[in-house]
Symmetry: C2
Subunit: 350 residues, 2 copies
């Protein structure tokens, strides 16, 4: 069985891409493919890869943060049975582990730069690691970011990624900025990931092609990074939907000290979800979780600009409610009738 260092070398060491290399001070030269070779990169551009001054292999990675920028940091730990099912293909798991972290950067409007990966594995499984790394790097490449460090160890399967981005100082989208009168928006469609989970659980039966589609929503979420950046200066607050609309709305309302009204009929949903009986459909829409769409608020005067930002980012955005001064969250249907919401936010200890 290969050792820890060999494993890291085989799957998680790559040349730094698209970046001019210079020798590290005192280094005898730079070997790109060598495990932990000091990969010192000249800072020439603003893309993520160009911010990595020193990647995997030393005690620390070194990142350059551009002048006037703040570093945005988020960290998520994924556990089998809690955050993913044992049925997930490892390549999709690699994608998702990074996606849920990038989604946090998206919710702040930050530009991704780099990430670290800590991985506990029951055994050094070469096939698993090759597939996991493939999915991870495909998404990393799509966002032009580098794995800059991490840790591997034997233990119950656990994936912990910390992601780094940058955002102009003072311009990060926060949970705390929603104001009475703001419109409430969501990106993409909601509920498919939860529908897939219910199908895996046997609570609902779906045709094969439909199941594959919603399964993809659960296993291959697309972090809305471009949208988050496009919403800087436009949105008054933002959060990514990981605990379900009601749970994540509650965070925004508490941080902002406001209330809200949500029109459940205005929540965007796939054809698959629209075909499900209403009670479960509402549960998937309102208490789904694991969606990684953005929930954000913006002044009504910015309505057209928000639509344009979504269009520029290639993501549909839907206005689905508004922020109100009165505390609490009121869920109504298209003609203003109250909708029952007998569900809790997803809690990883319940």
């Amino acid at each position: 069985m290969p050792g820890e260092f060999e494993l890291i070398a085989r799957h998680f060491t790559r040349p730094v891409r698209r970046a001019a290399l210079e020798s590290a001070p005192g280094a005898q030269g730079v070997a790109l493919a060598k495990l932990g070779g000091a990969q010192r990169v000249a800072l020439e551009n603003v893309g993520g890869a160009q911010h990595v001054a020193l990647g995997v292999g030393d005690d620390c990675a070194l990142l350059n943060v551009a002048p006037g920028m703040q570093l945005a940091i988020s960290c998520d730990m994924l556990i089998e049975g809690r955050h993913f099912l044992s049925t997930v293909p490892p390549e999709r798991l690699g994608h998702k582990a990074l996606a849920v972290n990038l989604s946090d950067l998206a919710a702040c409007g930050a530009e991704p730069l780099a990430f670290t990966l800590a991985l506990a594995l029951p055994r050094a499984d070469d096939n698993f690691l090759a597939a996991f790394a493939r999915g991870l790097y495909a998404l990393a490449d799509a966002h032009d970011i580098e794995l800059v460090g991490g840790d591997t160890t034997a233990g119950p399967l656990n994936i912990c990624i910390t992601v780094f981005g940058q955002v102009p100082a003072g311009q990060a989208l926060l949970r705390s900025g929603a104001r009475a009168g703001d419109q409430l928006w969501v990106s993409g469609t909601l509920g498919d990931a939860r529908l897939a989970l219910e199908a895996f659980r046997g609570k609902v039966s779906l045709p094969g092609a439909v199941f594959e589609t919603v399964r993809q929503a659960m296993e291959l979420p697309q972090p809305r990074v471009a949208l988050g950046r496009a919403l800087r200066g436009l949105a008054t607050s933002a959060i990514d939907l990981s605990d379900g609309l009601l749970g994540d709305m509650a965070h925004v309302l508490r941080h902002s000290g406001v209330g809200a009204r949500v029109n459940v009929d205005a929540l965007p949903r796939s054809a698959a979800l629209a075909a499900i009986p209403l009670p479960l459909q509402h549960e998937c829409l309102l208490a789904g979780g694991d969606e990684y769409e953005l929930l954000f608020t913006a002044p009504a005067s910015a309505h057209a600009a928000v639509l344009a930002a979504g269009s520029a980012a290639g993501v549909a955005v839907h206005c689905c409610g508004q922020i109100e001064a009165a505390p609490g969250l009121r869920v109504v249907d298209g003609i203003g009738r109250d909708v029952a919401t007998p569900w809790h936010a997803f809690d990883h200890f319940l």
Copy 2:
């Protein structure tokens, strides 16, 4: 049983210390003790706490990195039975989880700024968390750094910390800078952590007071942050001793493209370790691991300056060998005889 959010609030949310607060843009005000209250800090000083622009509670934390500084990042995952024994008091575990990460910053010569914590726990154990947080924060306070984000989840016990520091651009201590002729140095004493492990394993029997002393070396390692910073511009390479002297030396030699001669009789050791029969004593000194002392190289001309740096940092440093052009690591005794080293570097998958 308290929920995830309540747990985070109870143990891992604190007011940002010693820093002027200003309202977040668009915030309705700042509530210090409130879970996830947007804690936006005016950048006024260079201490770690003053670099935190936004702490726990939003999608991302925001850090300010001073102009001309690079961000140093390290990440370690700790698993029961691999990185700590089930017998470790939770308060010491909290200390150690952060200490091993700070040790990586020390090895780079970086100034610690902040850290994230991801924690998987079999159950939401209030007593465990209170003690763990106490140990964690005591060390964080000693280094003037803040917990800025993280994640908690149910699962097999797993602690993943990512730590952030800053270092003047181009001045980080790397593994790759050792040159033939450099002297080899270690800080503190070696081998006590391994001796404690062997005592726990029943391989050696120690008097009670001696056992408590070496146990403390294993459970309460002191990261050599001040020494690392004092060695900037002086040391040509540095690494922290986590895999044992032989294993970590091998990293330095490979990255630097050199060989070395180590005098085992010159390795600093406690009175407790000096009383142990030589074969086990040598194993503890050379293949111990879990020590978090610094191993570093410096030109012979810097000998007095290195001693002065150790003195200024309050840590004894010992010259114990030298770097040679010929590849390989030669371990000898005080009169130049070869010493057998039939041990491997600690590998977390073996």
